[in-house]
Symmetry: C2
């Protein structure tokens, strides 16, 4: 989406009057001279932030200054209309960020009900998905505005944000009130949510750091956020294959049987996930192998590795009195329990060391490739209370907000990275500053429309999201869900209770298999997209508003009918669906969703778009309708004019077999195309030392060309053996 303005917020005369009024706004202190950290990045400090948990202190890696310093030095957006703050005697720190009434505000993390948050009040607390009040698995306190800036509240405090909602009485732009019951019908219509001219937010704490981002586009702003937080996550190649989680009660032979069936049914399989039953005790956990189910974990893990299959272990962080870790961890844990297990204070290096050592010894050393870290979200009634105490002195709320981040940090930096082995896993909560962690969020909420929205929402806040599949009401839903999960950061079936298998909905098994195979064939394309995330901050799966040429459709508003029972405040219902998204640089995904949904509209951005499967020109800057039957139940995929898409020439059953595979490069549309293919060893961090390879693929005047422009690593894939023109 194009932004309307870069730089100052509005016209000169407006700014002058704002300045005067802002200065006179009672209690508020304007922030005049923010500290610049990098091109387009500034920091505002209020109070004493030294005692506060800041997300940037727990990022996966330091800021990518070498990349940021190459960026255009876009101007500070609040130079003329300053941000201001107030600190109450109750230690409540509030910030007022001026805005225009017509701004669109997007973001705030994994908000499954939609990415646009104007005119809403959000409680940004880590929780199970809270149905639109801001509480969610990853309530990242970062938003971007259609006016071309981003705001990041760099604090692990509970943050409550009033997004273009509410007005100060001394606001310079206070609208005229409207009578709700005018005597004449011609009077102006009353609204329950009058226009507002600010985003206001508060925490309770000692200090608050706010970071401001500007950039050349919304995508550029998001990229700078990711780069400042160390760059986006880089999964191993195997992480992009197909994942299957087993039932909680599975033992070794159940797992063996599963793997065999996958092979027999011709379904790819890269990762096998064990659910809680692999432990001697879970909820709370021991992290120790349940020998009745897995008598020889080392041999079991090796047997899987020999088949190219990685083992991922479910854990939650609450430690059982039966665990060997319990005694040493007890003094390092908080005052309260979760499911009667102790809650380690992972802000303490010693607690992190204890966990990492145990995990190293018992899991990673025998070949375990990563974790699914569950329950780091959790409802209030499950987790520690907000008044719990922790030995480090960190507040209970900060521990809760950052728990997912702290566990990502511990397992990533102290466990895998330390041993130069990449990991890819699942995490049930995340938050600010987490761009660099190779962990993907998931949920129990299971509404398919929301799961699709999650892909867009995550991309705005430096997090990854999987719309995992568990079960379905019917074949159509099963297929629709497989479509989406295969075009997500992590393609996983997670039937830990139902035990469903990909082939369990017989009428769509072939289509499901084809979808998984397509994901496998797209590995070169997707792996490069992740490298762009890592090196440039560009999210591999993205919201449409980050795309050039995409004009967000005006929300559909249903005019309110006053009713003393159903709608006493004449609230207007606004429906803004976020049901299509970008997959890699040039593929747009417009999935069918909800269990009976097999027809939908698709909004095509500016520029010609082509059908992925047929190469047919579909349209430009228009809305079309697609029907599942008309397209052989394929997932609707549309490709940009001029795009090059490198694919494996044939599907593989395991990413191990992708190495060295020959490539087909598809060229869509009429424009010349270019694609820089990224390759490395797919499993270590050597790429951070520059050990990677770049192949420039070009298509000009009908002729494809392949050129190695960097060869610091061996090739990952084979040569391009096929250039296909997709242009009808």
């Amino acid at each position: 989406m194009k932004i309307k303005r870069i730089g100052t917020l509005a016209c000169f005369s407006f700014c002058l009057s704002s300045l005067l009024s802002a200065a006179s706004m009672e209690d508020l202190t304007p922030v005049k001279n923010p500290e610049q950290l990098a091109p387009g990045i500034w920091k505002l400090s209020i109070g004493d932030v030294s005692k506060e948990l800041r997300y940037t202190d727990h990022a996966a890696a330091p800021p990518r200054m070498e990349v940021l310093n190459e960026k255009v030095d876009t101007p500070y957006p609040f130079a003329d209309n300053p941000i201001s703050f107030y600190v109450s005697p109750d230690k409540r720190i509030s910030v007022r960020i001026p805005a225009d009434t017509d701004e669109s505000i997007y973001g705030f993390g994994l908000q499954l009900d939609g990415i646009k948050k104007s005119k809403k009040v959000l409680n940004l607390n880590v929780d199970h998905w809270g149905k639109g009040n801001g509480r969610t698995h990853a309530p990242v306190p970062f938003y971007i505005s259609s006016k071309g800036y981003g705001v990041f509240f760099n604090t692990a405090r509970f943050l409550k944000a009033y997004v273009l909602c509410g007005n100060r009485k001394d606001s310079p732009n206070l609208p005229e009130p409207v009578d709700r019951n005018p005597v004449t019908r011609t009077a102006k219509r009353w609204t329950a949510l009058p226009d507002s001219d600010a985003v206001e937010a508060h925490i309770v704490g000692n200090g608050l750091e706010v970071m401001i981002f500007s950039g050349e586009s919304l995508l550029d702003i998001v990229s700078r956020y990711n780069l400042y937080n160390g760059g986006g996550a880089m999964p191993p190649l195997w992480g992009l294959g197909f994942w299957n989680r087993t039932k909680a009660s599975y033992n070794e032979s159940d797992c063996d049987a599963d793997i065999k069936r996958f092979e027999e049914e011709g379904f790819p399989l890269d990762v096998l996930g064990l659910e809680p039953g692999w432990m001697t005790m879970s909820y709370p956990c021991t992290f120790e192998w349940q020998k009745e189910r897995f008598p020889n974990p080392g041999a079991f893990s090796q047997k899987l590795l020999d088949q190219g299959i990685r083992l991922n272990l479910w854990v939650n962080p609450y430690i059982s009195p039966e665990a060997k870790l319990y005694e040493p961890m007890y003094p390092l844990s908080g005052s309260h329990t979760v499911w009667l297990g102790i809650v380690p204070d992972y802000t303490l290096p010693e607690a992190r060391r204890l966990l990492a050592e145990q995990h190293q010894r018992e899991h990673v050393d025998i070949g375990v490739s990563g974790y699914k870290i569950d329950e780091v979200d959790g409802y209030d009634q499950w987790l520690w209370p907000d008044h719990a105490t922790f030995p480090s002195g960190t507040s209970a709320e900060a521990v809760r907000q950052a728990y997912g981040v702290l566990l990502q940090n511990t397992t990533y930096n102290d466990l895998f990275k330390k041993h130069n082995t990449r990991t890819y896993g699942l995490i049930r909560s995340s938050n600010g500053g987490a761009s660099g962690y190779p962990y993907v969020l998931y949920s129990d909420s299971y509404n398919h429309e929301q799961y699709i929205t999650g892909l867009s929402a995550a991309s705005l806040s430096g997090i990854l999201w999987t719309p995992e599949v568990r079960q379905a009401a019917n074949d159509r839903e099963w297929l629709n869900r497989f479509h989406v999960v295969c075009f997500s950061p992590l393609a996983m079936l997670n039937a830990w209770s139902s035990g469903k298998k990909p082939w369990d909905y017989a009428d769509v098994t072939d289509e499901v298999r084809k979808t998984v195979e397509l994901r496998m064939r797209l590995l070169p394309y997707l792996y490069t997209a992740f490298s762009e995330y890592n090196r440039k901050g560009v999210p591999p799966i993205r919201a449409m508003i980050l795309e050039d040429g995409y004009a967000e459709k005006k929300a559909v508003t249903q005019k309110a009918k006053l009713d003393d029972v159903r709608n006493p405040y004449e609230m207007v219902k606004t429906v803004q669906k976020t049901n299509q998204y970008m997959f890699g640089p040039s593929i747009m995904v417009a999935p069918f969703y909800n269990q009976y949904h097999s027809e939908r509209t698709v909004q095509l951005p500016e520029g010609d778009w082509y059908d992925f499967y047929t190469g047919e020109l579909v349209g430009s800057n228009t809305t079309i309708t697609v029907n599942a039957e008309g397209m052989e139940n394929h997932l609707p995929l549309f490709v940009k004019d001029g795009a090059l898409i490198p694919m494996l020439t044939k599907p593989v059953m395991n990413t191990r077999d992708a190495y060295g595979q020959k490539l087909e490069v598809r060229h869509y549309g009429k424009k010349d195309g270019e694609f820089t293919l990224y390759e490395d060893d797919g499993k270590t961090f050597d790429y951070e030392e520059g050990v990677f390879r770049l192949r420039q693929l070009t298509m000009a005047e009908g002729a494809g060309n392949e050129k190695i422009i960097r060869d610091k690593a061996p090739a990952m894939f084979g040569p391009v053996t096929q250039w296909t023109t997709m242009n009808k």
Copy 2:
């Protein structure tokens, strides 16, 4: 309900070990010597409460010490197992109140989803009804325990309570964890909510006062709470008649027509409520008459009074720039607006004076009898943010929590009481300490089952609630709703948008009329019940758990089936309905509810119960089923053995006509009966100076007798002319 224990919490040996462990609980400071305020009432002070808004400081009247001092001096419930607290560096004050794992905890204000709150986390914030998370119109921080004590958090801070939910790691009663995925099926079943041994709660603030109540029964505990807060509300007699609110757009002639139709249709009418359109501007408000609709308000009001009809005015407290009050109130208002109106700081005497003077001059002096004070609850997106500032320095959260209480205080004490005129009105939010305010809560939520539950919930927290009628899906629902509202503190039709009239559901009009008539006939009985609320703290409409002989039925639990989509945590669904209640001393109401509901079960407490209409013995300590058809669509009403019920001999169309009316006294069952009828002038506060009359009605061995035992006021009603034996 009988309480299991008065005094110490459990056995001696348990207490000893608890004491030792409590002392060793990290960070917690035990409260050893609470200050006793009255028999069975103690105060615990943590930190500096002088800067905090305490509800008891804003009660309608001072504690009724003369009544409290007559009470049994029941022991302090936490003498052996002390309450303890912790104050964090963030000014978070938490309290741990020890409990037994099997305690039932009830209360916390107007919780429409059920009165039992064990194993729940509640956010006690004023809000629109929040669907079970604690946020509601009146989140009174007061609870009672089945073990015979009550706890009142005397603070207007947002309070979060963990009610028998969660465990400290150093708890003396920590249960053994259970493996969620045991290898053998015989293992103990895991639960997502392990047993807990405390109620914990916290606020952020300078200080917290906690009041502890004990008593001889749950009713006695609630009574002491009400008495400490000045005694229960005493409405004028007219307040107990029938109320009708008009459409928002009504003008004088529309009102006249309405009144005429009520008379023609034979429906009682005592109060006419004007909705927002009576003002020159509303949302925000001017409090000034809209002369296009009401050219001569004084004459209009007098015309109504001449017909015995009182005028009630809708207001909300947010002041329009068009109001004369705006300018003087501006400096006394908070930093933010609501619907663009200023928000007066009613903790300031000057703000109260300004409002009361305007209301006196423009409304009360011309005969307006009271107010419906709307929107003192409100969603976050409508009200001021939690970081708003107020000129008194009171925190925004405290202003929000207490706004309904402050407005009740202002209009009651500074306006009506000052002029020795009783009022009765409606309020959209209330809170602690409000027992004495003659204001009744209402809601937009409109779920009939919840509306019935509200009657029980309100009775536990010193508040009143009306399950007002607005519209219905069909005749049955209309009738069911009229049944309930006529057996509530305030019988009101509130069709401010739909304009529905009582006779608009033709097939049930006669039954609706009979129900209203029955309420009017019961005026002597109901008025005395309110006087017992005022003088003794006994709620006139009450939860069954406050009754002797009522054994709360075990909740129906639906065993959980594990499902990775529908129930991943195997949560057990507990259904505990609160669908019958007491009306006055001896009538039990068991209404039909939900739109098609015409059959239900009724749980009869111990002792013989009789059908109100026929006098037939129904049963004792048993569950029966009643059917609407079988009882001519009457509201199911059951009367205690020995009860005397004084009624008007015939219905009246207006409470004015109740004065001097002859009485019928019904005697139910076999036991001898007694009823002390209370009378006063029905409209002034002279009763507070002792100007009231008491008539002792007795029925012994089949003979009724009437005896005046106090005659400091003239009779309100005529003599008993009929003694009816209801005993088949």
